[in-house]
């Protein structure tokens, strides 16, 4: 029997939606598969979860540089180095079905050369997709009309800042870990976020008004392996990891669904007020947005066009109807 040491880690704690399945599905699945296949290899996991080694701004570099061998990579924070992965953030109001996003990106990251190469160029191998459930507004105030957003400061991490354009609200960067204090100390008055992320961070305590908007589920990033590390693994271990990654994707989708449902129950029990943005107001938002995909298309060129077309084709193929056809005219 051969023993392998694998450093696995994340900027976020184990309970976090993107880390949960790494710890609770990926690791045990790899162990299980290897044991079943004759116990020839055994993995000795060295866990570095919860940001003990690096902050959320450094998830790509941490895996790329081999600080961990396998890690959660938030491509959402990598607009400069991995822009292609952020296509969902430039095409809001596409679908609220997060399992669909997982399915699409597990497929495209492996089979669309543009995406696969982008991971390879950054020294990584994509194993499993990480997503968010649909984005809504958690704030200190309810949003009944678009006018309610005038002159508000909302946390809108990274590229999601674009969704607030022409709404009169000011986006403030941040991460799940910063919303609570941001809102509590008045840096912001709310955040664009999703139920499964808000529950564990208790943001609803300081932002008790949820306005359901349905901005959509987003591709957040992936569980990825350092490429040199992965290529150097024995073939059976690689296969086991690939298989475990598939199980991880499913577990991740289930966990997010379950957590989102539970989150809504628990948050409302804790005093969260839920209202719905009326359809005509939502239509104003969708159609009032400038063509936010344009700078992304300029930055990513032909590869971007290919990814956008493939993504929207996959959406429609699976029965989704994006509220705005961001791929129009390509």
């Amino acid at each position: 029997q051969q023993s392998l040491t694998v450093n696995i880690g994340s900027s976020h704690p184990e309970a976090n939606i993107w880390v949960y399945a790494m710890k609770n599905t990926f690791q045990p699945e790899v162990n299980r598969i290897l044991a079943e296949n004759g116990n020839e290899y055994q993995v000795n996991w060295v866990e570095n979860y919860a940001g003990t080694l690096y902050k959320f701004t450094d998830t790509r570099e941490a895996v790329m540089d081999g600080i961990v061998d396998i890690g959660m990579v938030g491509t959402v924070w990598e607009g400069a180095n991995m822009p292609l992965q952020n296509v969902t953030y430039f095409t809001p109001f596409a679908t609220e079905d997060h399992r669909m996003i997982i399915e699409i990106f597990d497929d495209l990251s492996e089979n669309l050369p543009e995406l696969k190469n982008s991971w390879a160029e950054n020294g990584m191998v994509h194993l499993s997709s990480l997503i968010t459930d649909s984005y809504d507004i958690y704030a200190t105030f309810p949003v009944k009309t678009m006018a309610d957003l005038q002159n508000r400061k909302l946390n809108a991490p990274g590229t999601s800042a674009n969704w607030l354009r022409e709404t009169g609200a000011t986006p403030v960067d941040g991460a799940l870990t910063t919303y609570y204090t941001n809102i509590q100390t008045g840096v912001t008055e709310g955040t664009l976020s999703f139920a499964s992320g808000i529950l564990p961070t208790r943001v609803y305590e300081v932002a008790p008004e949820l306005t359901r908007v349905g901005i959509g589920s987003m591709y957040f990033g992936g569980i990825a392996a350092n490429k040199d590390f992965f290529d150097g693994l024995p073939e059976p271990v690689r296969t086991a990891m690939r298989e475990a990654a598939k199980a991880t994707s499913i577990a991740h989708g289930d966990y997010v669904a379950e957590l989102a449902a539970r989150a809504m129950d628990e948050m409302q029990a804790a005093g969260l007020t839920v209202s719905q943005l009326p359809d005509e107001e939502k239509a104003k938002w969708v159609n009032g947005l400038p063509n936010i995909i344009e700078p992304w298309l300029e930055q990513t060129g032909e590869a971007g066009k290919t990814v956008l077309k493939a993504y929207f084709a996959a959406l429609r193929e699976r029965g989704a109807t994006p509220l705005r056809n961001w791929d129009e005219g390509l």
Partner: protein
Amino acid sequence: MSTEDTPELQEDRFVPSFYEAPYGAVLGSVAAAMSAVGTASIGALMLLIVADVIGRNFLDAPITGVSEIAARAVVAIVFLQVPAAILQLRLTRADFLVRRMQKFSPRLVALLESLFCLAGAIVFALILWASWPKFLSAWQTAEFFGVQGVWTIPTWPFRGITILGCIVAALAALYRARVEIRSIGSTA
């Protein structure tokens, strides 16, 4: 107002004259210039935050990106100021033992001090070595922070400040080491 300077404001003169120490004079001037830029950045940071607070609360015009810019500015301020801090011997340390030893064996102290300075030069050389590739790639790939379509700022100037700071800091530490080693010779 009192005319005498308060002790916490006493200025450390660390730029020697060019005739006495040409190397130290040039290095000191570069360090002083960098430190002045860093100092000015602190003032700019204060004004930026005040403008943001006033804009947000009274003019309905918050400034986008203040926290991100402030975050990067903090790192820049450190690397701009560090060479001057080294030349002014202002890096924090517990020198109670050294001050005691000074009475009995100034040569040993000077030797120890020069070793510490060398260690400092090595530390900054290590950071330089580690940071150089990222600076190059940030330059080549036009890496930015911020949000496409909202506001973006290239990262290379910030990475460049780290590089510049490390180079001058390492040289400053080496210069200090030379000063200490010479003092061994002179007390011999």
